[in-house]
């Protein structure tokens, strides 16, 4: 079929429109609905309807045997006064804010790798990307071991320099920072790939013109690369803020849940909103309250996304 296509005269598009007309727009429309039906029904049943149900559940209280009764705004008034929710929100916001450090880190490494004719780039890229494809549960287990207070590699290395390292993820003073390092380690490769793709889209003429004017590499980086990359950086910051606000896997595996988690003295510094949601929804089966927590998360995500779109005028350059 493709071979005949190549030999068709260019007028074929008018003929095709004619043929389509003959077949009738109604048939085409029916096929259109048929083609979107599987995904459409699946999204409706498993995604769209559940959102409405979750919103409804947030106004209910659940009994021990699964029944639920309407309680109005009670879950929300409880939520506002609940210190655990406030703490989880603060932890999550702190993780999100600190995680943004990963963006400049990724830009710097992408710029280093983006040099013309630099050999071995694919090896470096692979090394940076490995953590991205590694199962987060495995990542968390691995870092729990690296961070171990007595025998972890981090403290063993520090002891060479005579530093007596803390028990990183069990020490309230260090737990959050230790977690952020893992978060950046496992996401920098993803951001790097996107930035590299963005850098390849910057017209070479800009750099040529700049070096004719005598601008060195560093100057070119700040005057050309960074401004041209700002839309990419904006995209990454939207995506990573949304992702960070939903952090669960890393903390869940590093701290565990329930009794054993509470034994970790840093637990109250690490617990995230989604982790709290998990406990209310599936450990204590307080699903109405859990629904309210996750609606609050939705509001938080929406607010921060809107705020970023508002702020983009100040720093994002569109050509």
């Amino acid at each position: 079929m493709t071979t005949t296509a190549g030999t068709r005269p260019p007028r074929s598009s008018a003929g095709a429109a004619h043929a389509a007309k003959r077949r009738g727009p109604r048939t085409e429309a029916l096929w259109g609905y048929a083609f979107i039906a599987p995904t459409g029904l699946g999204l409706a049943v498993f995604y769209l309807w559940p959102v409405l149900q979750t919103a409804y559940f947030s106004f209910t209280e659940w009994g021990a045997f699964g029944g639920h009764t309407w309680v109005g705004l009670e879950n929300y008034t409880r939520l506002i006064a609940d210190p655990e929710v406030g703490r989880a929100m603060l932890n999550t916001l702190m993780y999100t804010a600190l995680g943004l450090i990963g963006i400049p880190v990724a830009i710097v490494f992408a710029a280093l790798m983006n040099r013309q004719g630099l050999r071995g780039v694919s090896v470096y890229r692979t090394a940076f990307f490995l953590p991205v494809v590694t199962m987060p549960v495995a990542v968390a287990m691995l870092w729990r071991w690296l961070y171990n207070g007595d025998y972890g590699l981090v403290n063993q290395v520090l002891s060479i320099a005579g530093i007596d390292g803390p028990n990183w993820i069990a020490d309230p003073a260090t737990a959050m920072y230790a977690l952020v390092v893992v978060g950046i380690w496992s996401s920098v490769g993803y951001n790097l790939i996107i930035f590299l793709a963005g850098m390849q889209g910057i017209p070479k003429e800009l750099y040529e013109a700049a070096s004719m004017d005598g601008a060195g590499r560093v100057r070119q980086f700040f005057r050309i690369t960074l401004p041209m990359l700002s839309p990419t950086a904006f995209f990454i910051s939207i995506v990573s803020v949304i992702g960070s606000l939903q952090l669960f896997d890393l903390v869940f595996v590093m701290t565990g849940s329930g009794q054993s988690a509470r034994a970790n003295p840093a637990y109250s510094r690490l617990q995230t909103v989604v982790q709290l949601f998990y406990e209310r929804a599936f450990v204590t089966n307080d699903r109405g309250y859990a629904a309210a927590i996750v609606i609050a998360l939705l509001v938080l995500i929406a607010a921060l996304t809107v705020a970023q779109f508002r702020l983009q005028r100040k720093w994002v350059h569109y050509v």
Binding site: S12, L130, W145
Partner: protein, 271 residues
């Protein structure tokens, strides 16, 4: 002068690449140690060849079953998404029908919602179907993806129209055109979606953790989380388990590196 600077760049990149990889090296070394030598100060760096740590993972967990569950779940989600998303994406990109833009907007709205909002009602559905602790439970909701429709629609829109119009002139209907013209042309897009779906399915924790609590029906990530809950400090066994669980996707990544990286780059290109 100019030859010296790449050397500096190489030095920076090489050292940081080593730092990125070092945790994995330590993971492998630890997985081959005895429990008592993990507490050596200073640490020992030579692997000890204690392969029985790997055998122990299979004793402590129904690891074989969990491995199979994960493979089946990932294969099911990848097949379903590539098929269903490409169908919907083709319709949104090429067929004309009333309400097309509105429906596409509704599909996109799913992308805006954090996935935790779906979980409680999805759990209720699974529970009422009697599907808790089953393979269907971890596969079926993952067959549908608004992201996949969005990604593939971009691919279809970028394809030249001439070929399908020629096919239409030859009398091919929408199904023929979709199957024998559009799908082969959109192969890079299908591969990108397939790879991303594989990665996310294999590494998914929250949903499998919630819906399948019977160890025999768990996926690897939930099983590992459970293993860690029980054997908090048996690091050689934990490292062996986490290594075999994450290795399949790492292997796919190493073999399909170009496609993997293009797939990831695509997620950013239309932001």
């Amino acid at each position: 002068m100019s030859e010296r600077r790449p050397l500096g760049v190489h030095a920076i990149l090489a050292v940081s690449s080593l730092l990125m990889v070092a945790p994995f090296v330590w993971q492998i070394i630890t997985s081959l140690k005895t429990l008592s030598s993990t507490t050596a100060v200073p640490p020992t760096f030579l692997p000890e060849g204690r392969w029985d740590n790997y055998a122990k993972v299979f004793d402590l967990l129904p690891f074989g079953e969990q491995f199979l569950n994960t493979v089946i779940m990932a294969a099911g989600r990848v097949t379903g998404q590539v098929l269903f998303c490409s169908m919907a994406a083709y319709a949104f990109a090429r067929l004309r029908f009333p309400g097309r833009n509105l429906l596409f907007g509704v599909f996109l709205s799913v992308l805006m919602v954090p996935p935790q909002l779906f979980v409680i009602p999805q759990y209720q559905i699974m529970s009422s179907l009697g599907w808790l602790n089953s393979l269907q439970a971890i596969i079926v909701p993952g067959l549908f993806s608004a992201f996949g429709v969005f990604l593939l629609r971009q691919f279809f829109l970028a394809l030249p129209r001439e070929i399908e119009e020629a096919a239409r002139l030859d009398g091919a209907g929408p199904v023929r055109i979709y199957w024998s013209v559009m799908l082969p042309l959109a192969r890079p897009g299908l591969i990108a979606l397939g790879i991303l779906t594989l990665l996310w399915a294999w590494n998914d924790l929250f949903w499998p953790l919630v819906v399948n609590t019977d160890p025999e029906k768990m996926t690897l990530s939930a099983g590992l989380a459970a293993l860690q809950g029980q054997y908090q400090t048996d690091y050689p066994v934990l490292m062996a388990g986490s290594l075999i669980a994450s290795l399949p996707v790492i292997a796919v990544f190493v073999f399909l590196q170009r496609q993997f990286i293009q797939g990831v780059a695509h997620t950013g290109s239309k932001g």
